[in-house]
Protein backbone atom coordinates (compact mmCIF):
# COMPACT_ATOMS: atom_id res chain seq x y z
CA UNK A 1 0.00 0.00 0.00
CA UNK A 2 1.31 3.41 -0.88
CA UNK A 3 1.54 6.25 1.58
CA UNK A 4 -1.50 7.96 0.04
CA UNK A 5 -3.60 4.83 0.13
CA UNK A 6 -2.78 4.36 3.78
CA UNK A 7 -3.75 7.90 4.61
CA UNK A 8 -7.03 7.50 2.73
CA UNK A 9 -7.69 4.27 4.56
CA UNK A 10 -7.18 5.98 7.91
CA UNK A 11 -9.39 8.84 6.94
CA UNK A 12 -12.11 6.41 5.87
CA UNK A 13 -11.87 4.57 9.16
CA UNK A 14 -12.05 7.78 11.12
CA UNK A 15 -15.12 8.82 9.20
CA UNK A 16 -16.81 5.47 9.96
CA UNK A 17 -15.88 5.53 13.65
CA UNK A 18 -19.13 7.05 15.00
CA UNK A 19 -21.18 4.57 12.99
CA UNK A 20 -19.02 1.70 14.24
CA UNK A 21 -19.49 2.78 17.84
CA UNK A 22 -23.28 2.85 17.47
CA UNK A 23 -23.31 -0.53 15.71
CA UNK A 24 -21.19 -2.23 18.34
CA UNK A 25 -23.12 -0.74 21.25
CA UNK A 26 -26.34 -2.07 19.75
CA UNK A 27 -24.71 -5.45 19.13
CA UNK A 28 -23.54 -5.59 22.74
CA UNK A 29 -27.13 -4.96 23.84
CA UNK A 30 -28.33 -7.74 21.54
CA UNK A 31 -25.81 -10.16 23.03
CA UNK A 32 -26.91 -9.21 26.56
CA UNK A 33 -30.60 -9.71 25.70
CA UNK A 34 -30.03 -13.05 24.02
CA UNK A 35 -27.54 -14.54 26.48
CA UNK A 36 -28.46 -12.64 29.63
CA UNK A 37 -31.37 -14.89 30.67
CA UNK A 38 -29.15 -17.97 30.36
CA UNK A 39 -26.38 -16.37 32.38
CA UNK A 40 -28.82 -15.10 34.99
CA UNK A 41 -30.39 -18.49 35.67
CA UNK A 42 -26.92 -20.01 35.68
CA UNK A 43 -25.89 -17.65 38.47
CA UNK A 44 -29.28 -18.05 40.16
CA UNK A 45 -28.87 -21.81 40.24
CA UNK A 46 -26.19 -21.24 42.91
CA UNK A 47 -28.35 -18.99 45.06
CA UNK A 48 -29.56 -19.80 48.54
CA UNK A 49 -33.29 -19.82 49.20
CA UNK A 50 -33.42 -16.37 50.78
CA UNK A 51 -31.11 -14.66 48.25
CA UNK A 52 -33.48 -15.80 45.51
CA UNK A 53 -36.05 -13.28 46.64
CA UNK A 54 -33.73 -10.52 47.82
CA UNK A 55 -34.51 -6.98 46.67
CA UNK A 56 -32.69 -5.73 44.66
CA UNK A 57 -32.00 -9.07 42.98
CA UNK A 58 -28.41 -10.28 43.17
CA UNK A 59 -27.14 -10.64 39.63
CA UNK A 60 -24.12 -12.48 40.96
CA UNK A 61 -24.95 -14.09 44.31
CA UNK A 62 -22.79 -13.13 47.26
CA UNK A 63 -22.65 -16.68 48.42
CA UNK A 64 -22.55 -19.65 46.06
CA UNK A 65 -24.10 -22.93 47.14
CA UNK A 66 -24.57 -26.31 45.46
CA UNK A 67 -27.83 -27.01 47.31
CA UNK A 68 -30.06 -26.64 44.25
CA UNK A 69 -28.06 -29.17 42.28
CA UNK A 70 -27.88 -31.66 45.12
CA UNK A 71 -31.65 -31.30 45.62
CA UNK A 72 -32.30 -31.98 41.93
CA UNK A 73 -30.13 -35.06 41.89
CA UNK A 74 -31.16 -36.47 45.28
CA UNK A 75 -34.78 -35.45 45.83
CA UNK A 76 -36.13 -35.25 42.28
CA UNK A 77 -36.04 -38.01 39.64
CA UNK A 78 -34.04 -35.60 37.51
CA UNK A 79 -31.36 -38.06 36.40
CA UNK A 80 -34.14 -40.43 35.30
CA UNK A 81 -35.73 -37.62 33.26
CA UNK A 82 -32.37 -36.93 31.73
CA UNK A 83 -31.90 -40.57 30.81
CA UNK A 84 -35.47 -40.84 29.42
CA UNK A 85 -34.97 -37.76 27.27
CA UNK A 86 -31.71 -39.02 25.81
CA UNK A 87 -33.14 -42.48 25.18
CA UNK A 88 -36.30 -41.22 23.50
CA UNK A 89 -34.55 -38.52 21.47
CA UNK A 90 -31.86 -40.89 20.22
CA UNK A 91 -34.26 -43.71 19.31
CA UNK A 92 -36.71 -41.37 17.59
CA UNK A 93 -33.86 -39.77 15.65
CA UNK A 94 -32.38 -43.05 14.45
CA UNK A 95 -35.79 -44.52 13.63
CA UNK A 96 -37.06 -41.43 11.84
CA UNK A 97 -33.94 -41.01 9.74
CA UNK A 98 -34.03 -44.65 8.66
CA UNK A 99 -37.76 -44.78 7.89
CA UNK A 100 -37.75 -41.41 6.16
CA UNK A 101 -34.66 -42.25 4.13
CA UNK A 102 -36.20 -45.49 2.86
CA UNK A 103 -39.35 -43.66 1.76
CA UNK A 104 -37.43 -40.69 0.37
CA UNK A 105 -35.31 -43.01 -1.77
CA UNK A 106 -38.39 -44.52 -3.40
CA UNK A 107 -39.97 -41.10 -3.95
CA UNK A 108 -36.75 -39.66 -5.37
CA UNK A 109 -35.51 -42.48 -7.56
CA UNK A 110 -38.30 -44.89 -8.39
CA UNK A 111 -41.43 -44.82 -10.44
CA UNK A 112 -44.42 -46.58 -9.01
CA UNK A 113 -48.19 -46.45 -9.25
CA UNK A 114 -49.71 -43.75 -7.10
CA UNK A 115 -46.40 -42.07 -6.34
CA UNK A 116 -47.47 -38.52 -7.13
CA UNK A 117 -50.85 -38.91 -5.43
CA UNK A 118 -49.20 -40.21 -2.26
CA UNK A 119 -46.63 -37.44 -2.33
CA UNK A 120 -49.31 -34.81 -2.78
CA UNK A 121 -51.21 -36.30 0.15
CA UNK A 122 -48.12 -36.10 2.33
CA UNK A 123 -47.53 -32.52 1.27
CA UNK A 124 -51.12 -31.66 2.20
CA UNK A 125 -50.79 -33.05 5.73
CA UNK A 126 -48.25 -30.31 6.51
CA UNK A 127 -51.25 -28.00 6.79
CA UNK A 128 -52.84 -30.00 9.62
CA UNK A 129 -52.15 -28.48 13.04
CA UNK A 130 -50.72 -30.93 15.55
CA UNK A 131 -53.38 -30.06 18.13
CA UNK A 132 -56.11 -31.50 15.90
CA UNK A 133 -54.33 -34.84 15.71
CA UNK A 134 -53.58 -34.89 19.43
CA UNK A 135 -56.82 -36.53 20.61
CA UNK A 136 -57.12 -39.33 18.00
CA UNK A 137 -53.37 -40.00 18.15
CA UNK A 138 -53.79 -40.38 21.91
CA UNK A 139 -56.73 -42.77 21.41
CA UNK A 140 -54.76 -44.85 18.89
CA UNK A 141 -51.76 -45.00 21.21
CA UNK A 142 -54.11 -46.15 23.95
CA UNK A 143 -55.62 -48.77 21.63
CA UNK A 144 -52.12 -50.06 20.88
CA UNK A 145 -51.55 -50.33 24.63
CA UNK A 146 -48.64 -47.90 24.51
CA UNK A 147 -49.81 -45.28 27.00
CA UNK A 148 -47.34 -44.48 29.76
CA UNK A 149 -44.42 -46.22 28.05
CA UNK A 150 -41.32 -45.44 26.02
CA UNK A 151 -43.01 -47.00 23.00
CA UNK A 152 -45.86 -44.52 23.30
CA UNK A 153 -43.36 -41.68 23.16
CA UNK A 154 -41.28 -43.10 20.32
CA UNK A 155 -43.48 -44.93 17.80
CA UNK A 156 -46.01 -42.16 17.01
CA UNK A 157 -43.13 -39.76 16.28
CA UNK A 158 -41.34 -41.90 13.70
CA UNK A 159 -43.08 -40.92 10.44
CA UNK A 160 -41.83 -37.40 9.74
CA UNK A 161 -43.24 -35.92 6.53
CA UNK A 162 -40.88 -32.95 6.45
CA UNK A 163 -37.99 -35.37 6.76
CA UNK A 164 -39.08 -37.24 3.63
CA UNK A 165 -39.19 -33.94 1.72
CA UNK A 166 -35.77 -32.90 2.88
CA UNK A 167 -34.16 -36.23 2.04
CA UNK A 168 -36.00 -36.70 -1.26
CA UNK A 169 -34.87 -33.29 -2.41
CA UNK A 170 -31.28 -34.15 -1.59
CA UNK A 171 -31.39 -37.65 -3.10
CA UNK A 172 -32.70 -36.31 -6.38
CA UNK A 173 -29.35 -34.59 -6.88
CA UNK A 174 -27.40 -37.86 -6.66
CA UNK A 175 -26.43 -38.81 -10.24
CA UNK A 176 -28.12 -41.94 -11.57
CA UNK A 177 -24.87 -43.23 -13.10
CA UNK A 178 -23.70 -44.17 -9.63
CA UNK A 179 -26.74 -46.36 -9.08
CA UNK A 180 -26.36 -48.01 -12.47
CA UNK A 181 -22.72 -48.72 -11.83
CA UNK A 182 -23.55 -50.32 -8.50
CA UNK A 183 -26.27 -52.43 -10.08
CA UNK A 184 -23.88 -53.70 -12.74
CA UNK A 185 -21.54 -54.68 -9.94
CA UNK A 186 -24.37 -56.86 -8.63
CA UNK A 187 -25.88 -54.66 -5.95
CA UNK A 188 -29.49 -55.38 -4.99
CA UNK A 189 -31.99 -52.55 -4.65
CA UNK A 190 -31.45 -52.39 -0.93
CA UNK A 191 -27.72 -52.61 -1.53
CA UNK A 192 -27.87 -49.53 -3.74
CA UNK A 193 -29.80 -47.70 -1.05
CA UNK A 194 -27.56 -48.80 1.79
CA UNK A 195 -24.15 -48.51 0.10
CA UNK A 196 -24.61 -45.68 -2.38
CA UNK A 197 -27.59 -43.45 -1.55
CA UNK A 198 -27.34 -43.41 2.22
CA UNK A 199 -23.62 -42.52 2.49
CA UNK A 200 -23.95 -39.85 -0.19
CA UNK A 201 -26.92 -38.32 1.63
CA UNK A 202 -24.92 -37.85 4.82
CA UNK A 203 -25.25 -34.03 4.98
CA UNK A 204 -29.04 -34.18 4.62
CA UNK A 205 -29.22 -37.06 7.12
CA UNK A 206 -27.22 -34.97 9.58
CA UNK A 207 -29.53 -31.98 9.17
CA UNK A 208 -32.62 -34.13 9.66
CA UNK A 209 -31.07 -35.83 12.69
CA UNK A 210 -30.43 -32.47 14.32
CA UNK A 211 -33.96 -31.25 13.61
CA UNK A 212 -35.59 -34.41 14.95
CA UNK A 213 -33.28 -34.70 17.95
CA UNK A 214 -33.86 -31.07 18.97
CA UNK A 215 -37.62 -31.23 18.60
CA UNK A 216 -37.75 -34.48 20.58
CA UNK A 217 -35.47 -33.12 23.29
CA UNK A 218 -37.82 -30.16 23.67
CA UNK A 219 -41.20 -31.82 23.07
CA UNK A 220 -43.73 -31.10 25.80
CA UNK A 221 -47.28 -31.80 24.60
CA UNK A 222 -46.97 -35.45 23.60
CA UNK A 223 -45.22 -36.63 26.79
CA UNK A 224 -47.76 -34.55 28.72
CA UNK A 225 -50.73 -36.49 27.38
CA UNK A 226 -49.09 -39.92 27.13
CA UNK A 227 -47.25 -40.20 30.47
CA UNK A 228 -48.53 -40.63 34.00
CA UNK A 229 -45.58 -42.19 35.75
CA UNK A 230 -43.22 -39.50 37.06
CA UNK A 231 -40.27 -41.82 36.54
CA UNK A 232 -40.99 -41.87 32.80
CA UNK A 233 -41.11 -38.08 32.44
CA UNK A 234 -38.87 -36.37 29.95
CA UNK A 235 -37.04 -33.14 30.81
CA UNK A 236 -39.56 -30.67 29.33
CA UNK A 237 -42.44 -32.40 31.10
CA UNK A 238 -40.55 -32.57 34.38
CA UNK A 239 -39.56 -28.92 34.05
CA UNK A 240 -43.07 -27.83 33.18
CA UNK A 241 -44.49 -29.46 36.28
CA UNK A 242 -41.67 -28.59 38.70
CA UNK A 243 -43.45 -25.73 40.38
CA UNK A 244 -46.96 -27.14 40.26
CA UNK A 245 -46.29 -30.78 41.20
CA UNK A 246 -42.99 -30.67 43.02
CA UNK A 247 -43.40 -27.37 44.88
CA UNK A 248 -39.83 -26.19 44.40
CA UNK A 249 -38.25 -22.73 44.39
CA UNK A 250 -36.66 -20.66 41.63
CA UNK A 251 -33.15 -21.82 42.48
CA UNK A 252 -34.15 -25.37 41.72
CA UNK A 253 -36.04 -24.50 38.53
CA UNK A 254 -33.02 -22.45 37.42
CA UNK A 255 -30.63 -25.33 37.99
CA UNK A 256 -32.97 -27.78 36.27
CA UNK A 257 -33.61 -25.50 33.29
CA UNK A 258 -29.90 -24.86 32.90
CA UNK A 259 -28.98 -28.55 33.04
CA UNK A 260 -31.67 -29.38 30.50
CA UNK A 261 -30.24 -26.92 27.96
CA UNK A 262 -26.53 -27.73 28.36
CA UNK A 263 -26.47 -30.89 26.18
CA UNK A 264 -28.04 -29.08 23.22
CA UNK A 265 -25.70 -26.11 23.69
CA UNK A 266 -22.73 -28.45 23.45
CA UNK A 267 -24.10 -30.26 20.40
CA UNK A 268 -24.84 -26.87 18.84
CA UNK A 269 -21.28 -25.61 19.28
CA UNK A 270 -19.95 -28.59 17.34
CA UNK A 271 -22.64 -28.99 14.67
CA UNK A 272 -23.76 -25.40 14.18
CA UNK A 273 -23.94 -25.74 10.40
CA UNK A 274 -26.61 -28.45 10.55
CA UNK A 275 -28.66 -26.51 13.07
CA UNK A 276 -28.67 -23.50 10.76
CA UNK A 277 -29.62 -25.65 7.78
CA UNK A 278 -32.32 -27.39 9.76
CA UNK A 279 -33.90 -24.06 10.59
CA UNK A 280 -35.66 -23.76 7.25
CA UNK A 281 -37.09 -27.24 7.51
CA UNK A 282 -39.48 -25.50 9.84
CA UNK A 283 -39.49 -27.92 12.70
CA UNK A 284 -36.94 -26.59 15.15
CA UNK A 285 -39.23 -24.32 17.08
CA UNK A 286 -42.02 -26.56 18.30
Amino acid sequence: MTQIDLRRDWRRRLRLLPQAVVVYVLLAMLVIIMLGPYLYIFSSSFKETYTLISIPPQIIPEQLVWDNYTYILNELPFSLWFFNTILVAVLVTVGTVLIDALAAYAFAKKEFWGRDVLFGLMLATIMIPGALLLIPAFLITNWLGLLNSYGGLIIPALANVLGVFLLRQFMQTIPEELEHAARIDGCTDFGVFWRIILPLSAPALATLSIVVFTSQWNNLVWPLVVLNDKDLYTLPLGLALLRSEFQVNYGITSAAAFLSVVPLLIVFLFLQRYFLEGLTVGAVKG
Binding site: A20, V23, I53, M127, P136, I184, V225, A240, L265, L279
Partner: protein, 308 residues
Amino acid sequence: MTTSSEALQTTRERGGPFWGRAAVRRNLNAYAFILPFMVLFALFNIGPFFWALWLSLLRGDLVDQVKPFVGVQNYVSLTTDAITLKVFLNSLQYTVSVVPIAVVTALALAFLIGNKLVRFKDFYRAVVFFPLLASAAATAQIWSYILAPRYGVLTYLLGLVGVPEIYWLSDPEWALYGILLVEWWRGIGFHIILFLAAMLGVPEELHEAARIDGANAWQVATRVTIPLMRPVILFSVVMGTIWAFQLFDTVFVLTNGGPVHATATIVWYIYNHAFRYGQVGMAAAMGVVLLLIIMPISYVQMKVLGER
Protein backbone atom coordinates in the same frame (compact mmCIF):
# COMPACT_ATOMS: atom_id res chain seq x y z
CA MET B 1 -21.78 -41.56 -21.13
CA THR B 2 -24.03 -44.54 -21.64
CA THR B 3 -22.50 -47.97 -22.07
CA SER B 4 -24.42 -50.64 -23.93
CA SER B 5 -25.05 -52.72 -20.80
CA GLU B 6 -26.47 -49.69 -19.04
CA ALA B 7 -28.77 -49.02 -21.95
CA LEU B 8 -29.89 -52.63 -21.81
CA GLN B 9 -30.55 -52.38 -18.11
CA THR B 10 -32.57 -49.21 -18.58
CA THR B 11 -34.69 -50.82 -21.27
CA ARG B 12 -35.33 -53.79 -19.07
CA GLU B 13 -36.30 -51.59 -16.11
CA ARG B 14 -38.35 -48.97 -17.84
CA GLY B 15 -39.73 -50.96 -20.78
CA GLY B 16 -42.21 -53.79 -20.95
CA PRO B 17 -45.99 -53.70 -20.79
CA PHE B 18 -47.68 -51.63 -18.08
CA TRP B 19 -49.06 -54.68 -16.28
CA GLY B 20 -46.12 -56.88 -17.20
CA ARG B 21 -44.31 -58.93 -14.65
CA ALA B 22 -41.36 -56.52 -14.62
CA ALA B 23 -43.61 -53.56 -13.91
CA VAL B 24 -45.38 -55.32 -11.07
CA ARG B 25 -42.08 -56.33 -9.55
CA ARG B 26 -40.75 -52.81 -9.87
CA ASN B 27 -43.81 -51.46 -8.09
CA LEU B 28 -43.74 -53.98 -5.27
CA ASN B 29 -40.10 -53.21 -4.84
CA ALA B 30 -40.79 -49.50 -4.44
CA TYR B 31 -43.70 -50.16 -2.07
CA ALA B 32 -41.38 -52.16 0.16
CA PHE B 33 -39.28 -49.04 0.63
CA ILE B 34 -42.19 -46.80 1.56
CA LEU B 35 -44.08 -49.42 3.60
CA PRO B 36 -42.71 -48.62 7.09
CA PHE B 37 -43.27 -44.93 6.57
CA MET B 38 -46.76 -45.37 5.13
CA VAL B 39 -47.96 -47.64 7.94
CA LEU B 40 -46.94 -45.11 10.59
CA PHE B 41 -48.12 -42.21 8.47
CA ALA B 42 -51.58 -43.79 8.08
CA LEU B 43 -51.74 -44.71 11.77
CA PHE B 44 -50.63 -41.40 13.26
CA ASN B 45 -51.41 -38.80 10.57
CA ILE B 46 -54.10 -39.69 8.04
CA GLY B 47 -56.15 -41.87 10.37
CA PRO B 48 -56.18 -39.35 13.23
CA PHE B 49 -57.10 -36.59 10.81
CA PHE B 50 -60.36 -38.22 9.72
CA TRP B 51 -61.04 -39.52 13.21
CA ALA B 52 -60.70 -35.97 14.55
CA LEU B 53 -63.27 -34.74 12.01
CA TRP B 54 -65.63 -37.50 13.18
CA LEU B 55 -64.98 -36.81 16.88
CA SER B 56 -66.02 -33.20 16.40
CA LEU B 57 -69.54 -34.49 15.71
CA LEU B 58 -69.72 -36.59 18.90
CA ARG B 59 -70.14 -35.97 22.59
CA GLY B 60 -68.19 -37.76 25.30
CA ASP B 61 -64.92 -38.01 27.16
CA LEU B 62 -61.71 -39.88 26.34
CA VAL B 63 -62.69 -43.14 28.06
CA ASP B 64 -66.31 -43.34 26.84
CA GLN B 65 -66.68 -46.39 24.62
CA VAL B 66 -69.84 -45.04 23.00
CA LYS B 67 -69.97 -41.37 22.15
CA PRO B 68 -73.42 -40.17 21.03
CA PHE B 69 -73.66 -38.41 17.70
CA VAL B 70 -74.68 -34.77 18.12
CA GLY B 71 -74.16 -33.41 14.60
CA VAL B 72 -72.97 -29.84 14.46
CA GLN B 73 -73.99 -29.21 18.07
CA ASN B 74 -70.35 -28.77 19.17
CA TYR B 75 -69.76 -26.13 16.53
CA VAL B 76 -72.91 -24.29 17.57
CA SER B 77 -71.76 -24.42 21.20
CA LEU B 78 -68.43 -22.91 20.16
CA THR B 79 -70.21 -19.81 18.89
CA THR B 80 -72.29 -19.32 22.05
CA ASP B 81 -69.66 -20.14 24.66
CA ALA B 82 -68.16 -17.03 26.33
CA ILE B 83 -64.78 -18.68 26.90
CA THR B 84 -64.51 -19.68 23.24
CA LEU B 85 -64.88 -16.09 22.18
CA LYS B 86 -62.21 -15.05 24.66
CA VAL B 87 -59.92 -17.80 23.36
CA PHE B 88 -60.33 -16.67 19.75
CA LEU B 89 -59.74 -13.04 20.64
CA ASN B 90 -56.64 -13.93 22.66
CA SER B 91 -55.13 -16.00 19.87
CA LEU B 92 -55.94 -13.33 17.33
CA GLN B 93 -54.62 -10.48 19.45
CA TYR B 94 -51.48 -12.43 20.25
CA THR B 95 -50.83 -13.34 16.61
CA VAL B 96 -51.37 -9.89 15.14
CA SER B 97 -49.08 -8.49 17.84
CA VAL B 98 -46.24 -10.98 17.90
CA VAL B 99 -45.83 -11.52 14.15
CA PRO B 100 -45.31 -7.88 13.09
CA ILE B 101 -43.18 -7.16 16.17
CA ALA B 102 -40.98 -10.19 15.56
CA VAL B 103 -40.62 -9.60 11.83
CA VAL B 104 -39.84 -5.89 12.10
CA THR B 105 -37.37 -6.24 14.98
CA ALA B 106 -35.74 -9.21 13.27
CA LEU B 107 -35.36 -7.18 10.09
CA ALA B 108 -33.74 -4.34 12.00
CA LEU B 109 -31.43 -6.73 13.84
CA ALA B 110 -30.53 -8.50 10.60
CA PHE B 111 -29.50 -5.14 9.16
CA LEU B 112 -27.46 -4.51 12.29
CA ILE B 113 -25.60 -7.81 12.08
CA GLY B 114 -25.39 -7.60 8.29
CA ASN B 115 -23.71 -4.16 8.50
CA LYS B 116 -20.43 -4.11 6.62
CA LEU B 117 -18.57 -2.88 9.68
CA VAL B 118 -19.49 -5.99 11.66
CA ARG B 119 -16.88 -8.69 11.84
CA PHE B 120 -17.41 -12.25 13.06
CA LYS B 121 -21.01 -12.44 11.83
CA ASP B 122 -21.03 -16.16 12.67
CA PHE B 123 -20.66 -15.28 16.34
CA TYR B 124 -23.79 -13.12 16.35
CA ARG B 125 -25.64 -15.72 14.34
CA ALA B 126 -24.82 -18.27 17.04
CA VAL B 127 -25.85 -15.85 19.77
CA VAL B 128 -29.31 -15.26 18.34
CA PHE B 129 -29.68 -19.00 17.78
CA PHE B 130 -29.11 -19.82 21.45
CA PRO B 131 -32.68 -19.13 22.64
CA LEU B 132 -33.99 -21.49 19.94
CA LEU B 133 -32.17 -24.36 21.60
CA ALA B 134 -34.02 -24.40 24.90
CA SER B 135 -37.36 -26.13 25.24
CA ALA B 136 -40.37 -23.90 25.75
CA ALA B 137 -40.69 -25.43 29.20
CA ALA B 138 -37.13 -24.49 30.17
CA THR B 139 -37.53 -21.02 28.67
CA ALA B 140 -40.74 -20.54 30.61
CA GLN B 141 -39.04 -21.51 33.87
CA ILE B 142 -36.15 -19.15 33.14
CA TRP B 143 -38.49 -16.26 32.45
CA SER B 144 -40.92 -16.92 35.27
CA TYR B 145 -38.09 -15.93 37.62
CA ILE B 146 -36.99 -12.97 35.50
CA LEU B 147 -40.56 -11.68 35.21
CA ALA B 148 -41.46 -12.29 38.85
CA PRO B 149 -42.90 -9.24 40.61
CA ARG B 150 -40.79 -7.43 43.25
CA TYR B 151 -37.66 -9.62 43.19
CA GLY B 152 -37.68 -10.32 39.44
CA VAL B 153 -34.64 -8.95 37.66
CA LEU B 154 -36.63 -7.33 34.85
CA THR B 155 -38.80 -5.49 37.33
CA TYR B 156 -35.60 -4.27 38.99
CA LEU B 157 -33.92 -3.18 35.74
CA LEU B 158 -37.04 -1.38 34.50
CA GLY B 159 -37.30 0.24 37.92
CA LEU B 160 -33.83 1.72 37.41
CA VAL B 161 -35.14 3.71 34.43
CA GLY B 162 -38.33 4.66 36.26
CA VAL B 163 -40.81 2.13 34.90
CA PRO B 164 -43.34 1.18 37.61
CA GLU B 165 -43.74 -2.45 38.63
CA ILE B 166 -45.59 -4.57 36.06
CA TYR B 167 -47.25 -7.84 37.03
CA TRP B 168 -46.24 -9.47 33.75
CA LEU B 169 -47.96 -12.78 34.34
CA SER B 170 -50.62 -12.11 36.96
CA ASP B 171 -52.21 -8.90 35.67
CA PRO B 172 -54.97 -9.81 33.16
CA GLU B 173 -54.14 -6.65 31.21
CA TRP B 174 -50.48 -7.60 30.85
CA ALA B 175 -50.31 -11.41 30.90
CA LEU B 176 -50.64 -11.88 27.15
CA TYR B 177 -47.79 -9.42 26.63
CA GLY B 178 -45.69 -11.22 29.22
CA ILE B 179 -46.15 -14.36 27.15
CA LEU B 180 -45.40 -12.38 24.00
CA LEU B 181 -42.14 -11.12 25.49
CA VAL B 182 -40.99 -14.64 26.29
CA GLU B 183 -42.01 -15.99 22.89
CA TRP B 184 -40.33 -13.06 21.15
CA TRP B 185 -37.07 -13.90 22.87
CA ARG B 186 -37.48 -17.56 22.06
CA GLY B 187 -38.31 -17.20 18.37
CA ILE B 188 -36.59 -14.05 17.14
CA GLY B 189 -33.42 -15.93 16.12
CA PHE B 190 -35.34 -17.87 13.48
CA HIS B 191 -36.37 -14.71 11.67
CA ILE B 192 -33.00 -12.98 12.06
CA ILE B 193 -31.03 -15.91 10.66
CA LEU B 194 -33.41 -16.29 7.73
CA PHE B 195 -33.25 -12.57 6.92
CA LEU B 196 -29.50 -12.42 7.35
CA ALA B 197 -28.99 -15.23 4.84
CA ALA B 198 -31.25 -13.53 2.31
CA MET B 199 -29.65 -10.14 2.91
CA LEU B 200 -26.11 -11.36 2.45
CA GLY B 201 -27.27 -13.09 -0.73
CA VAL B 202 -28.20 -9.79 -2.39
CA PRO B 203 -25.46 -9.03 -4.94
CA GLU B 204 -23.19 -6.19 -3.81
CA GLU B 205 -23.33 -4.61 -7.30
CA LEU B 206 -27.00 -3.75 -6.77
CA HIS B 207 -26.14 -1.79 -3.62
CA GLU B 208 -23.27 -0.08 -5.39
CA ALA B 209 -25.45 0.85 -8.33
CA ALA B 210 -28.09 2.35 -6.04
CA ARG B 211 -25.46 4.29 -4.12
CA ILE B 212 -23.93 5.68 -7.32
CA ASP B 213 -27.44 6.83 -8.27
CA GLY B 214 -27.36 8.87 -5.07
CA ALA B 215 -29.43 6.71 -2.71
CA ASN B 216 -28.64 6.92 1.00
CA ALA B 217 -28.42 3.91 3.29
CA TRP B 218 -32.12 4.02 4.23
CA GLN B 219 -33.18 4.21 0.58
CA VAL B 220 -30.88 1.34 -0.39
CA ALA B 221 -32.42 -0.76 2.39
CA THR B 222 -36.06 0.01 1.67
CA ARG B 223 -35.92 0.16 -2.11
CA VAL B 224 -33.30 -2.46 -2.99
CA THR B 225 -32.54 -4.89 -0.18
CA ILE B 226 -35.97 -5.39 1.39
CA PRO B 227 -37.88 -5.81 -1.90
CA LEU B 228 -35.36 -8.48 -2.90
CA MET B 229 -35.97 -10.24 0.42
CA ARG B 230 -39.74 -10.41 -0.10
CA PRO B 231 -40.03 -14.21 -0.51
CA VAL B 232 -38.09 -14.80 2.72
CA ILE B 233 -40.11 -12.20 4.61
CA LEU B 234 -43.30 -13.89 3.40
CA PHE B 235 -42.01 -17.27 4.59
CA SER B 236 -41.13 -15.71 7.92
CA VAL B 237 -44.58 -14.17 8.35
CA VAL B 238 -46.23 -17.47 7.43
CA MET B 239 -44.20 -19.54 9.87
CA GLY B 240 -44.59 -16.94 12.60
CA THR B 241 -48.36 -16.91 12.11
CA ILE B 242 -48.62 -20.69 12.14
CA TRP B 243 -46.67 -20.87 15.41
CA ALA B 244 -48.54 -18.00 16.98
CA PHE B 245 -51.95 -19.59 16.38
CA GLN B 246 -50.64 -22.82 17.93
CA LEU B 247 -49.17 -21.22 21.04
CA PHE B 248 -49.38 -23.63 23.95
CA ASP B 249 -46.22 -24.70 25.80
CA THR B 250 -45.26 -21.31 27.19
CA VAL B 251 -48.81 -20.56 28.27
CA PHE B 252 -49.18 -23.98 29.88
CA VAL B 253 -46.09 -23.49 32.05
CA LEU B 254 -46.27 -19.78 32.82
CA THR B 255 -49.95 -18.97 33.32
CA ASN B 256 -51.98 -22.06 32.43
CA GLY B 257 -54.43 -19.83 30.61
CA GLY B 258 -54.94 -17.41 33.47
CA PRO B 259 -55.42 -15.00 35.07
CA VAL B 260 -59.16 -15.15 34.30
CA HIS B 261 -58.54 -16.66 30.84
CA ALA B 262 -56.34 -13.73 29.82
CA THR B 263 -53.86 -16.10 28.18
CA ALA B 264 -56.21 -18.92 27.20
CA THR B 265 -55.33 -19.81 23.60
CA ILE B 266 -56.92 -22.12 21.03
CA VAL B 267 -54.57 -25.03 21.73
CA TRP B 268 -54.86 -24.47 25.49
CA TYR B 269 -58.63 -24.86 25.02
CA ILE B 270 -58.20 -28.06 23.00
CA TYR B 271 -55.84 -29.61 25.56
CA ASN B 272 -58.00 -28.75 28.54
CA HIS B 273 -61.33 -29.76 27.04
CA ALA B 274 -59.97 -33.09 25.81
CA PHE B 275 -57.72 -34.09 28.68
CA ARG B 276 -59.12 -32.24 31.68
CA TYR B 277 -62.81 -31.47 31.23
CA GLY B 278 -63.79 -34.62 29.33
CA GLN B 279 -65.30 -32.76 26.39
CA VAL B 280 -63.61 -34.47 23.48
CA GLY B 281 -66.20 -33.32 20.96
CA MET B 282 -65.77 -29.66 21.81
CA ALA B 283 -61.99 -30.02 21.72
CA ALA B 284 -62.11 -31.70 18.31
CA ALA B 285 -64.47 -29.04 16.97
CA MET B 286 -62.04 -26.37 18.14
CA GLY B 287 -59.27 -28.33 16.42
CA VAL B 288 -61.21 -28.24 13.17
CA VAL B 289 -61.65 -24.49 13.52
CA LEU B 290 -57.90 -24.19 14.09
CA LEU B 291 -57.38 -26.25 10.93
CA LEU B 292 -59.58 -23.85 8.97
CA ILE B 293 -57.55 -20.90 10.28
CA ILE B 294 -54.17 -22.52 9.67
CA MET B 295 -54.90 -24.11 6.29
CA PRO B 296 -54.91 -21.02 4.06
CA ILE B 297 -51.77 -19.70 5.77
CA SER B 298 -50.09 -23.05 5.69
CA TYR B 299 -50.92 -23.45 2.03
CA VAL B 300 -48.18 -20.92 1.32
CA GLN B 301 -45.70 -22.97 3.35
CA MET B 302 -46.72 -26.08 1.42
CA LYS B 303 -46.15 -24.24 -1.87
CA VAL B 304 -42.69 -23.14 -0.80
CA LEU B 305 -41.76 -26.67 0.26
CA GLY B 306 -43.31 -28.16 -2.85
CA GLU B 307 -41.32 -25.89 -5.13
CA ARG B 308 -38.01 -26.95 -3.69
